[in-house]
């Protein structure tokens, strides 16, 4: 998604330019690329960091592109930090360090006209693997007719998280599923189709019905308390241990100020 990356870069530059001119003499720049799910959080954190004593007078440039792009970019030294919404994989390049900065709830979502009261893990697996194909077989569903699965493409970190948290290692999403290439397209499809079901990062669930998982509603409060089981990690990935300004930024993200920002839409570490 080159276009998104460029747009995001332009937006990030516009954001940082007025702050960066103040003490341009010893200004340093952090560049980041990667997950579209982490990018909104990284942007909020960067805004606050540039106003903090350690960050003042520096610049942060945020590009997007997907978790895998962030990880590859940082391992090749193209950016200071990569953003990843998935856990480290054995096949990842060597010499990189995953620094956890937040957690995020992955919600199962349906059309607002189909407020399903709860789903168990087995039910979710049955629905998404295609064993159950009609809403009449799902208790509490008000929709009728076939179930429309709306999922993300393979390169998405959210898809990876959904697979790991809900489906396990052996089951796969049914081949008939509709696959969308971005969070926005996926949410739009579920919003306009009363028979749809899908999954989304908590920050992208506005206007959709979030289905309680194992009886626990997918809310920030439940995810923070640990009652909601469907959560994943957000990382800033560095090449070797983070140094200089990048180290300060990660420390800021993990500090109480940073975690207060995390708490607005995501799940803080503590």
């Amino acid at each position: 998604m080159n276009r998104t990356r460029l747009l995001a870069a332009a937006a990030a530059l516009a954001l940082c330019a007025p702050l960066g001119t103040a003490t341009a003499a010893h200004a340093a720049t952090i560049t980041m690329s990667g997950s579209t799910s982490v990018a909104p959080l990284a942007t909020s954190l960067a805004k606050a960091f540039l106003k903090s004593p350690k960050g003042k007078g520096n610049k942060v440039v945020i590009l997007q592109g997907g978790s895998d792009i962030g990880i590859t970019d940082v391992s090749r030294g193209r950016v200071t930090l990569g953003m990843s919404s998935r856990d480290p994989k054995p096949a990842d390049p060597g010499g990189i360090v995953f620094n956890k900065i937040a957690r995020d709830a992955v919600c199962i979502v349906s059309n607002a006209s189909n407020p399903i009261p709860t789903l168990s893990q087995t039910q979710i697996q049955d629905i998404f693997s295609g064993r159950v194909r009609s809403w009449s077989q799902v208790s509490g569903a008000t929709a009728s007719g076939p179930i429309d699965l709306v999922v993300r493409t393979a390169a998405s970190g959210t898809q990876d998280a959904f697979q790991n948290i809900f489906m396990g290692t052996t089951l796969r999403v049914a081949a008939s599923a509709t696959t969308k290439s971005s969070n926005g397209l996926q949410a739009q499809t579920i919003k306009s189709d009363p028979n749809a079901i899908g999954y989304a990062s908590f920050a992208f669930t506005k206007g959709l019905h979030t289905i309680p998982y194992q009886g626990v509603p997918c809310t920030l409060r439940n995810a923070k308390s640990g009652q909601y089981a469907g959560s994943r990690n957000f990382f800033l990935v560095s090449r070797g241990a983070a140094k200089g300004l990048a180290k300060d930024f990660i420390a800021f993200a993990r500090s109480s100020t940073g975690q207060a920002i995390v708490a607005s839409d995501w799940v803080p570490l503590r």
């Binding site: 393979a154 499809t189 306009s192």
Partner: protein, 328 residues
């Protein structure tokens, strides 16, 4: 003082060489690009052989396996049967171009031969404006308005259930894709055909009129016949645009890599498909995974070759019409 005998630095010979160099540069760029794309795409073709173009299994799942290849180059996964993508590309492209040819020919005839001058003076700039609308705008209208409407009003639950085990019908479909693509390519075709109809020598039509032939027959048997090469040129250009259209199709029809089946009758139009260019755009996130990137380059190579054959076919088709034709 200007002295024609000593042209100075810009002598004709020097200018000729410099312009020649620029033209050769374009040629070099094209050759370089083709070589680059094919070199990148080669592993994907080499591993699959002709099976690359066949059907078998689920393309989305094959792409996922390629994406999740182990990091050791010897264990890279390449297996791919891309037929659903090729079939989807062909159906959407030719569907839109065939409807577009008929539509744009008649619209152009009206603008040139029948419309009152004030109306054609209004229509022509509007058509040219429409030709310049970016495809993503059409895509947005498609996904926000047309796709939900089709999903809600045209697809019955029985129709959905009849194919539910194979594919989901949610409105994003081959039919909507063809419709919006037609709307996208028609303006550019009208613009080309209008220019060609205008270029037909007036004396030819006046001669026919003087013999008492009515306006429609003059138009059909002389003007349109003469302008045939331009219609072919318009079709080739429109096909090239349709072939490469990615964003809009990915938004309104590309929800699954499925090969819609004409045997399904009317349902065929409501089945989703993902043309090659859309598949490329939707998977760009995974470009850094080596075998996945090579597979995407294979898509690009197929698109490149198809558009080359397209230009060639257009050229050949125009040869037989050259005698009385006007060139656009």
């Amino acid at each position: 003082m200007f002295n024609p005998a000593t042209p100075g630095f810009w002598s004709d010979r020097r200018v000729e060489r410099m312009l020649g160099a620029v033209a050769c540069l374009v040629l070099l760029l094209i050759i370089g690009m083709i070589a680059f794309v094919f070199a990148k795409a080669w592993p994907s073709f080499a591993h699959n052989g002709l099976a690359w173009f066949s059907s078998g299994g689920d393309v989305d799942r094959q792409l996922e396996d390629i994406f999740n290849s182990p990091s050791n180059p010897a264990d890279y996964v390449y297996e791919l049967h891309a037929w659903p993508l090729l079939w989807g590309t062909a159906v959407v492209t030719f569907g839109a171009v065939l409807i577009g040819i008929a539509f744009s020919l008649f619209a152009a005839i009206f603008i040139v031969e029948f419309a009152p001058p004030r109306l054609s003076g209004l229509l022509e700039p509007v058509v040219r404006l429409l030709a310049a609308v970016p495809s993503v705008v059409y895509g947005l209208i498609g996904i926000l308005v047309i796709v939900p409407w089709v999903g809600e009003h045209l697809i019955s639950i029985e129709r959905k259930e009849s194919v539910a085990n194979v594919v989901q019908l949610d409105g994003s479909s081959i039919g909507v894709g063809i419709m919006i693509l037609t709307i996208m390519i028609v303006p550019i075709m009208i613009a080309i055909v209008v220019d060609a109809l205008r270029a037909v020598p007036r004396s030819w039509t006046e001669g026919a009129s003087a013999l008492g032939v009515n306006r429609w027959r003059v138009t059909w048997s002389i003007v349109v016949r003469t302008a045939r090469p331009a219609v072919v040129a318009a079709a080739v250009l429109a096909t090239a645009r349709a072939l490469g259209e990615a964003i809009m199709l990915s938004m309104v029809s590309g929800s699954a890599s499925f090969a819609p089946n004409p045997i399904d009758g009317f349902t065929f139009l409501f089945e989703p498909t993902r043309p090659l260019a859309s598949a490329l755009v939707e998977n760009v996130e995974g470009l850094t995974v080596v075998p996945f990137g090579q597979t995407l380059f294979a898509f690009a190579a197929v698109l490149l070759v198809s558009s080359m054959f397209l230009s060639l076919a257009g050229f050949v088709a125009k040869q037989s019409m050259r005698k009385y034709g006007v060139q656009p």
